[in-house]
Amino acid sequence: MPECRIVLRNCGIVDPASIESYRAHGGFQALRKAKQLTPDQVVQEVKRSGLRGRGGAGFPTGMKWELAARSPGEAHYVICNADEGEVGTFKDRYILQNDPYGLFEGIAIACHAIGARTAYLYLRAEYHHLLGQLLRALKETGDAELGCHIEVREGAGAYVCGEESALMESIEGKRGEARYRPPFPPNHGLWQEPTVINNVETLMNIVPIIQNGADWYKTIGSGPCPGTKAFSVTGDVERPGVYEVPFGTALAELVVDLAGAVNVKAVQVGGASGRVVPAAKLDTPLTFETVLGAGAVVVLDASRSMVELATQNVTFFAEESCGKCVPCREGNQILLHLLTTLQQRSGKEQDIDALRELSEVMMISCLCGLGQAAPNSVVDTLEHFGDEYYSMVRR
């Protein structure tokens, strides 16, 4: 299946440094069309399109907007999550670099839909080099054209600040740690006001949906997952990069046909917190119901050790845990210890049982998605490549 570009429609076509170029390619028409509709009509159109959040969880965007629009508050806010912290993803960066105006237009439509005057674009600290370009583009566009004010806030380099509640704490100037939920952001978000928080890629879908209608959008993709998904493919492939394919495309088409992977042993879909798919299951369709996450696809060939993969992922989470809750703060430390012991060939068989039990408890008891997803690769590699673990046990 070839690529299908909706989200990346302007990448390489519109000059990202020229608003005139964006206008010449139909820029801001969707915004003008949206302004002629009532906010509720916009919300209903997005709801009907079946668009789901691309930040990882796949929550229906229209429903999120509706909840926020109907929730009373002194002010409403829209946040564009450009923290892109997941290991191996760079699709949001690709969009920010190549189509900033398209993103601003999507944000402006979201503001119109929920009645927000201010939007925040939370930019990953490592993307500081994009700040100048974004600010210039924002200044050029102007608040009057957008009908709202977009403020760029830079992160400080914490992965957990991509998590919606920690991100809001960070914008509020506090320590980046997760809040407990409920209450959810559409009711009590930024400064406890109704807030919609969406990923960059999610918001990039808004312009085409408003322009072409929900019915058109639903013809693309697969059943409960309409539209396309942008993937960042890396690892043992010949052509790493960003690929946009319709939902439901088989994993093999993405990594083998498009990216040119050979001798695949496993693919981790969704970054460090993603699921590990063994080569035998490469026909898995890419949907939120199977595997997906934020769209990082890391291909591992036959030379890679699965225990090493799990160890590297857990090292990342032990470093990035915000430290608030016990199962994540202490659990990742212990997972790492158990994995390292195994790798040093001094682990026992009970250590593998402990890995399993600890992973299960972390997945159901941690406060936020970081800790809940941290053991994913341990659990999956244990299931599909258990022999590798047992062969490391000290005999």
Partner: protein, 234 residues
């Protein structure tokens, strides 16, 4: 079932009972005679959700939910002591014990330590997991002795100082395993930064914060005029 009646129907451990709407699962369970263990929660303070000790099973929820900060809703089906819940609590306690120093025999709070009582209740003895521990210098000011090696990062001192006393002396710093409660910009607690209210001490569930035993003694001349060296105990 009128709107004005502030009561919701829930099913608690298989029994249909009623709860005040707007209360947490923890409160609703207590009102119905079911005790759920807690550690970071304290009735004087706003809920934190840090220790995850009070997790319970709620039907149709993907994960367990912490009962101290989750409100009851109409028709909620709750299991407070299922096998799944008990196992999670036990593992969480094992994790907490794994990094806790083995000082219980010489700890000032030994017999009133909430963590020790809770681990006994959950049947956690010597923890299965062995990894790093945290070691910090013991700090003293004229009133308080603080041993962060014993700190379980429950936020209770931070919140007690802020919410009860209104003083905001403490905050959390660093992340992951390195997280710690700090004063100022991670300064040592060796100066008279606050008066002798002791709110943080009475809210500390473990032996990380204790009174200085000699706090009522009149300072000697030498103590008044010179800075005393740090005394390392324990």
């Amino acid at each position: 079932m009128g709107v004005e009646t502030d009561v919701v129907d829930i099913i608690l451990n298989g029994k249909a009972v009623q709860a005040q709407s707007g209360t947490t699962i923890l409160q609703a369970a207590a009102a119905n005679g079911v005790a759920i263990p807690t550690l970071c929660f304290h009735r004087d303070l706003s809920p934190t959700g840090a220790c995850r000790m009070c997790v319970v099973e709620v039907a149709r929820s993907r994960t367990l939910v912490a009962s101290c900060h989750t409100l009851v809703t109409h028709g909620m089906v709750i299991e407070t002591h299922s096998a799944k819940v008990l196992r999670a609590r036990k593992v969480i306690m094992e994790l907490m014990m794994a990094s806790h120093p083995d000082f219980c025999l010489v700890c000032d709070k030994a017999n009133i330590c909430e963590m020790r009582a809770l681990s006994a209740e959950l049947g956690v003895g010597v923890p299965r997991f062995r990894a790093k521990k945290r070691f910090y210098q013991i700090e003293e000011n004229p009133y308080v002795i603080r041993d962060l090696s014993k700190c379980v990062l429950c936020y209770r001192c931070v919140k007690a100082c802020k919410e009860v006393k209104g003083a905001n002396l403490f905050s959390m710093a660093r992340r992951g395993f390195e997280m710690k409660v700090v004063v100022d910009d991670d300064a040592a607690l060796d100066k008279e930064v606050c008066r002798d209210c002791g709110i943080c001490i009475s809210h500390c569930p473990v032996g990380a914060l204790v009174w200085r035993p000699d706090r009522f003694r009149k300072p000697t001349d030498s103590a008044r005029t010179s800075c005393r060296p740090l005394v390392i105990k324990g």
